[in-house]
Amino acid sequence: MHGWKGRRLRLDLTNRTYEIEPLSVDYYKKWIGGRGFNSDVVYHETYQGMDPLDPESPLCFGSGPLAGTFAPLSGRTTVSCRSPMTCSNMDTGIHGHGDTNMGGAFGPFMKYAGFDQIIVKGKADKPVWVFIDDDKVSFRDASHLWGVGAKKATIKIQEELGDPDVKVSLIGPAGENLVRYACILNNFSSSGGRTGMGCVMGSKNLKAIAVRGTKPITIARPDEFAKLAWALRDKVHNSPSAIRRKAEGSMDLFDVGNAIGINAHRNASTGFMPGIEETYGGLQWAEQFLFRRKACWSCPVACGRYTLIKEGKYAGFSCGGPEMESVCNLGCRIDTYDVAAVNVLCGMVNDLGMDSVSAGAALSWTMEAFEKGYITEQDTGGIRLEWGDTETSMKVIEMIARREGFGDLLAEGNIRVAEKLGVGQDIVPHCRGLEHISVDPRITMGFSLGYAMSTRGSDHLKNYSCVEFPGCAKSRSYQVEEIFGPEGAKKFWEDFPKELNELDTKPVLCTWSEKNKCVADLVSCCCQAIGSWGGAGTWQEAYYPLLAAATGIDLTPEEVFQSAERVINIERAHWLRDGSGIQDDTHIDRYFDEGVHDGPFKGMVIDREKWAWAQQEYYKTHGWDELGFITEDKARELKIEDILPDMESGKKIIRQWLDSDKKAVTPMFVPTGLRK
């Protein structure tokens, strides 16, 4: 087998055994790669109502056919499980599919060891870490690593093995303490943050997985593959946006975002921060803090940063990162201009092993709740968080990771904090219990729809519809044509650039982007290449020929697209099985009622009527029914008929809830007519 390795590894932590399972070509054709295998396993090996932290819940690490090859930007790994963080708005006890995608080099090394996927089940009786040395797997005592930060623990493991080239995927103290939004890190600071996969890993008493692999990935048609990879690399080398990304890192998006006012400023109530040029500007940032760039496996761009604070209070502090999302959520979101402190916060969050978005959201929610008078020091055990208070923020971050005092509550995620305290539900900016990233859903409608429809919760990296941004659309007009057809494109350009705030074209755009992003995940490539800077063109130009040359299996582009659709559907089915459908595909009331506070789009809200239309339109583009459920036809077309009984039982749950007068956890807009 070429490109793929033909096997996956199943670890059973309860009995400390492992099993190597061969996979058939048909299986690969059906699911293509990492996210596909993961979604299949996570759906089929869990059940309705299962506790995500149940020992039998399968934690999957998957990588695709291009991971670890010469194809550029191919170092990604998808981690999936039932998510402890995300939940339905009906009841925070209802969970669904969760996944996160991380860079670094773990996926490639999994493949060098001979596995396309690693599935972890069971629960060790005491902390362990697992060493995978090609086909040999050993379970080792991790008591000395428990409570140790990510960086130190990685060094300890590498030193214990005497091999600095071993790749370690691990959790920080936050994961051990079951912080619901704990992340998994590899290569010191490449993290898979969202949906709390680190929490699942911690619940299994698994500190780390270390991999050493010595087997090469063979390529079916090496000459052709090399030629294609060079062509794609040349494209990346010459892409102006890639060159900018190299210089500024993903911080190049900060200025852009701030200019149109979408950065989640002040608990995402507004998106505009005045006077950031001297502090948050991309080049400025690099000049102040960048020690040296770092890259994921086989990526020529290297948007990764390594920060060194040279002067001031935090002089000498160094850490991997931060990435723009982290900066935005731990800086802009809590309204601080102390950028050195933001770096420290980002470094801490990484080392402690938490999702920087949700951690930032926890801080900013507390700040706004204080401001609004929802909570007082009595609720927080004497801690008071004011806007921009980075020092207390650091303390609180540490408390969250250790689950001490008020941190214990914040570790549950904003939606549960508000639910438990009984206040502030209206200021939790979330979909499916996951706080949204730093793009304001009132302004960019494609992202907005994406958040709501995403199976990950409020995150852009499932429906990466960046073509809606004026800059992206202009530089990639060919994509506009591809998405909307000649007629639609004409209309798109007529509305341009107001297009950004319109929902009309977004259902189509979202579906298209969703599938494209899914293909990138399936082959294990960085979505940035075909996404925000788009240097590599569309995936069809970029990765489809590479996929064929690497594997030697000539799937048609339609077949690959269908696989992507299958993956999207099975992930959706996972939520639907638990009854989370249309009532969760929406935003909190705040975004429909309260206008943007500041910036060029001041006063903008989402239109309720249009939203209801867009929801239905989106379902139609997928061939789903009016409740957002997968139809029998669709299931048969995608050869996932086995989900149909689950759809029925899921429908029962949602009907029951709609017919009851049970309130939603947070006030969210549910299209009229659904409830009595």
Partner: protein
């Protein structure tokens, strides 16, 4: 020390980002597979301090590997590159031990050694260098230019540091540069 007239690969570790693209390119070029062990250029990772050093054969003028090979299997090509003649090599690794960089690496399939052949006369030039187009940590330059570009001539500098000192060269001690 005089340098040859040929072109050489010059390394600037301060620009290396540890993406391993060069390794992938090398493995692809010579074996048609992907794995760092199949590459002749290797990145030494010090990821905890985010420092990466690409190590490849510098084709030293007075190459230790040529002198210590019992089989005379380390040979210099027309291009200036020093490679292992696999017909003769018995895999004793003397060249690996003698090299101040540890540049010759073990052939993963036959246990002999291998080192950079500058991709012979491939029209793309050395693949590793091309793969580093964006970061410029690897450059393929005229050996004389490389020697002239002081401070950047990593090859010559390290080579000199690692050679037995001349007897009349009293001040050869290497002090710790950074506190």
């Amino acid at each position: 020390m005089t340098l040859r007239q040929e072109k050489v690969i010059v390394i600037d570790p301060s620009k290396c980002v540890g993406c391993h693209s060069c390794e992938m390119a090398c493995a692809m070029k010579h074996f048609g597979v992907c794995h760092p062990h199949y590459s002749r250029i290797r990145i030494q990772e010090f990821r905890e301090v985010n420092t990466f050093v690409p190590v490849t054969c510098q084709a030293c003028e007075d190459a230790a590997c040529i002198k210590v090979c019992p089989m005379n299997a380390r040979i210099r090509l027309e291009s200036g590159a020093v490679v292992t003649d696999e017909e003769k090599c018995i895999g004793c690794r003397a060249c690996v031990y003698a090299c101040p960089f540890g540049a010759p690496v073990i052939h993963p399939e036959n246990g002999k050694t291998m080192s950079c052949d500058l991709c012979m006369d491939d029209e793309l030039g050395p693949w590793c260098v091309k793969a580093c187009t964006m970061q410029q940590a690897l450059k393929f330059v005229d050996a004389r230019d490389a020697a002239r570009a002081k401070g950047r001539d990593f090859a010559a500098m390290l080579k000199e540091q690692n050679e037995p000192p001349h007897q009349d060269d009293a001040d050869f001690s290497f002090s710790f540069s950074v506190e």
